[in-house]
Structures are given as C-alpha cells and as structure tokens.
Symmetry: C2
Subunit: 630 residues, 2 copies
Amino acid sequence: MLGGYNDKILHVDLSKEETSVEEPDDDFYRRYLGGKSLALYYLLKDLEPDVDPLEPDNLLIFAPGIITGSPLPGTARFTTAAKSPLTGGFGGSEAGGFFGPELKLAGYDAVIIKGKAENPVYLWIHDGEVEIRDASKLWGKTGKETQEGIREELEDDRIRVALIGPAGEKLVRFACITNELKHANGRGGLGAVMGSKNLKAVAVRGTKQVELKDPDKVKSLTKWFAENYMEKGDTSGLHNLGTPILINVHDELGALPTRNFHEGSFEGAEKISGETIDETYNIGQKACFSCPVACKRVVKVDEPYEVDPAYGGSEYETLSSLGSNCGVDNLPAVLKAGEICNAYTMDTISTGMSIAFAMECFENDILTKEDTDGLELKFGNGEAMLKMVEKIAKREGLGDILAEGVKRAAQKIGNGAEKFALHVKGRELPMHEPRLKAGVGLGYAVAPIGADHTQMEHDPVFAEENPMLEELSPIGILEPVESQDTGPRKARLFKYLQHWWTLGDCVGLCIFSTSPARVWRIPHVAQMVNAVTGWDMTIWELMKAGERCDTMARAFNLREGFTREDDWIPDRFFEPLEGGPLKGDKLSKDEFKQAIARYYQMMGWDENGVPTKTKLAELDVEWVADELKK
Amino acid sequence: MLGGYNDKILHVDLSKEETSVEEPDDDFYRRYLGGKSLALYYLLKDLEPDVDPLEPDNLLIFAPGIITGSPLPGTARFTTAAKSPLTGGFGGSEAGGFFGPELKLAGYDAVIIKGKAENPVYLWIHDGEVEIRDASKLWGKTGKETQEGIREELEDDRIRVALIGPAGEKLVRFACITNELKHANGRGGLGAVMGSKNLKAVAVRGTKQVELKDPDKVKSLTKWFAENYMEKGDTSGLHNLGTPILINVHDELGALPTRNFHEGSFEGAEKISGETIDETYNIGQKACFSCPVACKRVVKVDEPYEVDPAYGGSEYETLSSLGSNCGVDNLPAVLKAGEICNAYTMDTISTGMSIAFAMECFENDILTKEDTDGLELKFGNGEAMLKMVEKIAKREGLGDILAEGVKRAAQKIGNGAEKFALHVKGRELPMHEPRLKAGVGLGYAVAPIGADHTQMEHDPVFAEENPMLEELSPIGILEPVESQDTGPRKARLFKYLQHWWTLGDCVGLCIFSTSPARVWRIPHVAQMVNAVTGWDMTIWELMKAGERCDTMARAFNLREGFTREDDWIPDRFFEPLEGGPLKGDKLSKDEFKQAIARYYQMMGWDENGVPTKTKLAELDVEWVADELKK
C-alpha cells in the first residue's frame, strides 16, 4: 500500500549511517493517526528522559497527517517534532507546503532521525529509496541556495526540500525548518535540533499516489470544498489578504501586541497591515498542495531593501512580532526582517519577541549602546530591529545572547531583565493578547509546547459570532462564551477545541481549511478520514484521538520534569493594558489559577496536572503510565 | 410543529384537575433530547427531595425519545420515570410498542403528571386535546379489560393505552405499566406510582405525523434497515425466536441464573427455551411501531392453564426469572405466570426473583408452610410458583410481604433472610450472571436505577466476538476485553457503552435495532437524529448527551441520600458458582471495589461518587450542582 496509511515508517540513524523500515499495523495508525500523535508515540517510546535536546540522542521526526497526500484540500500539513531546545519539553510544530504530501508519495508515513552525522549531510528519499548524502558544500548556505543546490545536484526541480539555513547550523534555539523556503515548522527550535545532527536538509520526491479507499467520496468532498470555500467570509479574507488581515482586526479590537505587549493598539498598524501590503509590495499568492484557499502572500521589495519573493511574504505573526510589537511601522524593514528569518531559518515570532525584549531592556537602561554595538535599540527603530535580526541569525554580539531565547537571555543579562521576558516554558509568546482572549491565555499556560497560538481558535472573539457558533454545534457548543470569561464554560469550550485542533495536527488538517469559521465543517473531517482510510471513525473517536495526543504531550513534559508551576503566563497579563480600546483590562491571578485547576480536572488529571492511570486507560494508552514513572 | 421535536410538553396536575402546556426551545431539546434525559431534567427541577414515592407529590413522566414517532425502525421507545417506590432513587424504565409514537402523533413530547386524583381517572390525549376522565368502573380490572373498556367508551379501536392492572392499584412495589397489554415499562415500580395517583390509564390517539426535516434521508435509512436487518445473525435470532433465544445460549455458557443464582446451568433449560416455545405454544410474532424485526412472541396455551395470547408471550427475562431461577421447567406454568404478571401489571423479573428468594427462605426453614398458606414453596415447584404470583398480585398472605420487594421482605422476615435477597438499591437482579459478565455486574452496582440489565450490552461475552468489535470501532473500541476482566480496559468499555445505551434511552432507540451486534450501526444514529430534527449532531455530542443523562441520574440519587455504599452487588457473586460450566468461578471483592473506584474516576466523579462541579460544567449542566447541594 505505497503512500497509503498503514504503510511504512523510516528510521534513520545518522551516527551509524543506517536506515530501517517499520510497518506498524492498522490499529496503530487508527489509534495514533499521524502527525503530532505519531511523533509523540515515538518520543515517548524511543527517547530516554533527560537527554540534552542538542545532543545526538534526541530524535527528529517528520510526520505527515494521516490523510496528508490525499487530494483533499487543506490536508497538506505535517508535524516536525523533537525534544525542544527552547523549552526542554515536547517540541512539535506543524507546517504546510508540499513536503508532507511528497513524503507520503515517496512511500513513508514518517521519518524518525536519531544520531549525528560526522560531517554535514542531507537525506534523499525518493519512491521508497533512501540515501544519506554529503552536504559539506551546502553548509553555511541560505535556504534558497540550499534548495537550489540540492535540486541541481539531483537534477530534479520537483524535489521538495525541508531544510535549515545558517541559524539552524548555529543552533539558534528558535531556529526553524522551512520547506519551499517559506512554509515553516516554525516554533520550538527544531531547526537547531536538525543543525545539531549535521543534517542540512531532507529532500523528498514521490511519484505514487496515496491510496484512497473511497475515491468517489474523496472526489465529491473535494468538489464540495472548491464550490464552497469562497462563500465563507473568513476564508475569503484569507484568500484575499492572507493572515495579515488580522493586523487591522486586532488593532481595532485593542488586541494587537504593541511594544512588547504593553499596549493593544498600534498607531502604525495601518502601515503594516494586510491591506497596505496588498496595495504595495504584494505580487501574488501561493497555495499549499491541493488547496484553493491560497492564503500565502508573495512580496517583492526593491528599496530601501531588496526582499526576495522566493521567500514568500510575511504572515500576521511576523508583521506583528517584528512590527507592532517592536513598535516598528517601517513596512519594508519588517518585510526584510521576515525574509532574513526565512533565509536563515529562524522563527519570526521568537525573533521579534527577543528583539522586543531587548528593546524594553534598552529603554530601561538594562542594555546600553555598549551591549548593542552602538545600535539605538529603541521601540520603533526599524533599522535597529533589522540589524538585530541579522545579529541573532549570525550569533553576533547581543545577537548571540538573544539567540538563546528570552528566558535564557534574561538570565544572562540579569538586572531585572526577567520581567521583560515574555515566554511560557521558555517559548516566546505569539501575537495574541490574553487580556482579550482569555482562552488563548489559558492555552499559552497549559500547552505542552509552551505559549502556543495554533490553538488560537479557542479564540472567544470569534466564538461569540454566530457563524462560529454554528460551526461548533456538532460538538455540543450551543451558546457563546465571553472573550474575557475564565469560568467553567470557557474551560469546556477550551477543552473541546483543544482536542479538536490537536486532532487536526494528527490528521494533517490546516486550521485555515476547517471549522470553526472556515470551510470544512466538523462532521466533514470524519468523512474525510474514512474516505481515505476505509475506517469507520466517528467524531467521538477522533476527538478522543485529539485528547489522547494532548495527554501524551503532557506525559512527555512530566517525564522531563515539568510541574504545574510551569503552567503559567507572564505577570504582564495580570497588569492593565496601557493603551488601545482595552486600556486598563487585565486578567485576575486568582481566577486564572482556578481556570487552570479546572482545566486539569476536566482533563482527568490530578491537582498537580498529572494524568491519572484511569484517564490513560480511558484513552487506551495505559502504557504511558509506565513512562510517567521514569 | 405538531408531533415534531421542539414541540409541546404537557403538564397534568391530578389534584387540581389542571393541565398546562410548555414549549421549551430548540436548545433544550438538543441538550436533553427526550426519554430518560428529559425525564431526569424535570425530576431534578420539579420534584423536591425526600418525597415519598407513593405520595401525590411524586412525578410520573411519560417521555418518548427525540425521534420516536418517525418511521425509522427501532425508534418506538419511550421512558416512563418517577422516583422509584422500590429503590427510593431514580426510577426510569423504557418500553416499546405503540404508545410512545402515538403520544408524539397526538402532539406531545412528554406528559408530566403530579398530584393524585380524588377518584380513579384516566387521561385521554388526542390530537393536542386533553381530558381527565372517570375510571371508577375500570378500577380493579385487568389490563385487557381496561384497554377494551377505554376503547369501547371512546369508540376507537386504535387508541393506545398505557395502563395498570390490580397490582398497580394495590401498590405492589414492582408493579409495571403496560401498553398494548404486553409492552412493559417493567422495572422500578412505576405502576405503583400510577396507582398511588389513582391513575388507571393514559389513552392516546394522534393523527398527525412527526415532522421530518430531511424526509429523503429518513426514507433511505428506513430502506437500508429493511434491506439489512435479516442479514445480521443476531437480529435474525431475535426475529425468529425473540429474546427467549438466550435461555439455551446462557445455559451453555454456564450463565443462566438458576435457583436464585446458585448455579449457572439449569437441567430443565431446554424445556423452557425459545426453541421449545417455538415448537409448542408459539402462535405468532408481533412488532413495535414501524419495526420489521418483530421480536415479540405470541403464545397460546389451553392446558393445564389457559394463557391468553392477548398478553403476548414471555421474554427471556420472564422465562429465566420465573423458570430456571425458581428451578421450574414447567413451561405452561411459566407462561401462565408471565401472563398473570402482564394482566395484573407486575414486573416479571422482580416477581420471579421475589419468589426465588422466598423459595430459598423456605428451603432453609426461614419460611414454613405456615407462612405460605400450605404451599410447598421449594425450588422446582411450578404450581407453587404460579400460586405465589397470584398472591403477590393480590397482596394475599406471604404475597403481601413479597409485594414489597426482596429487600423489604427480607427485613420483615428476618432470621437471616437478607442473604437470599438478591438486589441492588432494593431492585431485584435481572437474569444476567455477573460471575461471567463482570461488566454487567459493574452495571448492576453503579446503575442509578439499581440492578439494570438494559445496559447488558456491556456484555463482554458478545464483545469478544468479531462482529461486535466491528460494531464498536466507531467509538474507538479496537480490541476485545475478556468477559471476566474487571480491569481498566473493562472500565473504558463499560463507560463508553453506558453512554451509548443511555443515549438510546434518550433517542428512543431500541437496543435490539442498534449496535453493537444489531442492525443500526453507531454512525447511523447521528444520521437518524439529524434527518428527523435538522440538527448537525455528531456522535461526540450524542455520547456526551448519554453521559449527561447518566450523570443527572447519579445526581438525582445523591440528592435523595444515596452514597457510594449503595453501589455494590450481593455477596453471592463473590462466592463460587455451584453448578454449570463456570462452577467455582466468582468475582473478587477487592478487584470489584477497584473497578467501581476506577469507574467513578473515569466519570469525573470524586472518590465518593459525587460528580465534580467541573464535570457538570463539562456536560453543560452546571445547574445540577445546585441540586446536589439540597
């Protein structure tokens, strides 16, 4: 069953230069699906606790979703996972693009890499064959140079390459991995893990098709999507402007992170907005494999900086983290910063947040021009921001410190810098304001990967609108819950949606293609999975698969020594917003503590956030209890 | 929307001779559906705690399932509910037949009756109209006389009548309610509640149709059922022999309750088996509204006792409780006993178990001929069994004591009789052997209504067979669980199936029409509900509706003073079976305690079996927490 589910998992040992293939049974796939859950299975089973994330023993896993590679729109995603060098806990990050589907078409449901190559190498996987190839000549190269180099060497322009640039090689703790130069497994420092293994790239090419158990159903679902995606207002927004549409939306709500989350509105928002990009530097749009939504932008800038359209365009997160959150309204500088992040493969969120952190230190005289090689590192200084991006990518000067992430940087800088370091579990906060979106704040606190915005659809701002509610009714959410509510009803909404979005990370589903508020509705997803696999899963079983995955991630962190103390958000969010329509709003510490306790209880975890043996049995993963004992 | 969901609920106050109509909104129906869950909503909201079940303040509720009355096969069921005079806790009991659908066609989703009529009355509900009519002339009459009397008085042979016979009038604590003389809301003494209200019958007639939001889908589902029900081995068994097929099946397994559960095989099993009935007294078969399975038997006996075919034929439970469990292999006597139970409206299970209890007392000289009016009340004496049935129905002599149920009877008789009284929460055990079916044993212990066999599909005997497993995969049960296993995997199977079967009691689904091991598969049920109602429920939401209902029932009992001490089964099951293939097998008390603790935890209840506030929030019924405080 080449390229289908229930197929082959490729194990690669770079130290031993060995590869092997495993063929799990159907029940394994049905229980763990693909993507995040499959990755967690191997991280729990095959990785010993307490391994340094940048040592060879760490695993690096590429795992497409269970239906990734099918023609169904919005299913192109794959998970990359390892123990995170940023958090020391579970590091999982999803990307779209073409790499995930291509890996399936090349015959593998996942690639699990351990060890470290003696010299730089890349993996070449094509129609079931695997080679570990020399990459000495590619080391030190940018993303574009690397991708071109590999395609030229192998003489095939259709090869899909997941790669790292110099930031990954230099073990920037928030280095990312890109495919097609612009789709990033962005967060948690997986690019550094790749770098630590001397692995420059994974190149894949497959000419088979994923087996579809019910091709007619796949066809009719695909047709339905194509006919309906433009009718959805929100999706149309994504189609027309991409995620940058959120700059103005958040600014108007008062929830656009501004100057390291001091304020919720930015006087320069319009200048860095999706609308402005559309009228200025945008030259086109791109899609992932088999997706008509095409939410990706392509920008080209000539002056004062050249921005190479090969690296796509900036997402909302990039525009906000390097823009508003640094107080920068200089659009070309922000776009250039985004391009550098992609070329050197660094997470734009952590990069922007690290710089915003440094700016706040600078404004408070904790850092001086002496520390910054003369840069006037103040909020709003676009030139300085841009220079710092390069310095981080190259680990030069202050950049070398910031490349460790805000948590470690603050410890090193001292003098009270810690209070400006906005992170959870060592991972920098994404661009969503918990003082408006309390559910997102809860997600920041408890997500096993640290502050996480890919569960942002907990987002109660949207939940209060009718279209969103209509989308959620299939899982029994019949009434809206207030944005700033942290009570029991928010806990329920949060739990259900967490399972749902986590499930997406196992199925391979892009959040921009599915409910809430997008095209695929919740019941479609069971139809999609079943049409491809031939199973008879219901949304019950699928939601439980999401819950299982969330719980396995929790277990991974507990095994690594995390405690409930790690489930918290920075003090800043218990202080009033200083500007914008929500000025004065803040979260309550007591209520937030209660919300976390409630979440534990709802998850079937004890008061310390440890899943009970009974809960593990209920999720059909009793074996995880043995891992928790370690 | 006459006859549809989201319609009208009829309230009747017999003391005040008043009726009123309530029209809840769509969300109410979606959250509580119909049947058991709807009944529990009103029992929790409208009934004060600590009311004597036989006093006027008790409520008596008739509630069809949410899709009952639609043409979909296997959806004819309705719940009757009250505070049980047998247990003092939640009393809910389901029946098929024609009454439930007819009530919907008459315009009501439920009838909620309180108070007590000054003189005997019956309710007459027809196309939205309601009358409280005099029933003085019917008082004291059997089921058949009552039904005929009402149909003659109202001059309509198609009126459907839910009624009580003399046993209900005399407040036999396990009196039942029948419709069409043979479909019983059998258990928990609801007939006594009806009697206590001076309510002889509820007669209904409706000429409308239930609104179907997607009539084409209903049609195609109905067609699918008709085309597939005979192909299923198990359903064919039901079609050909009805539930009596289980006599030989259980006997061969060693799990046929024999002589008050001392043994698991009965030397006279063949004589009282479904196969023997088929070859001797069976004269036909009957179906419920819109169901091709037609599992009901009709028997006619001329000698030595006349058995009136108007009362149908005996189910497995009847044949076992009055037959093997009393050691009686005299088939005509057993069939006659069943007929008397139907004519006088008594639950055959509790009747048989009460007599088996008395027989064991007699064999142990705790009861003597003096107590039995000269009857030689030994195991195997069919004549004596039959006389005792009459004595209970008429509350004569020892029958007056047994009419209180084995728990109260044992307390009255004393002298160690308690150890022969096999009940949970005061309700006599049904005919399923926990020493084989440990999951059923767990169900006996924890079911809010007391020892309950309608959750018998927890039955691991079936679960080990492949067809069953295939049916359960849509809720993620991918591997068999051993019958006698009481471990974590059994807890999971038990919990999921409990929600599932409880859901059936809210939807109106007959267990003989649906998964596991029947015709409708699990995913069909969401399709069925949605086709009728126009909603977009998934199996997730539906399973949660089942869990919600289970939890509301738990809350009702807790409010009435039940504790975890009440969740236990009789000592007999921790002692070895004395005969049959499973001779020597027994349950372990320690393991069983653990199983119950595990079940609580899996349900989100505390160590005392009290649902946490968080769990109630997760089930979207925070208001229940206030009821628990009372």
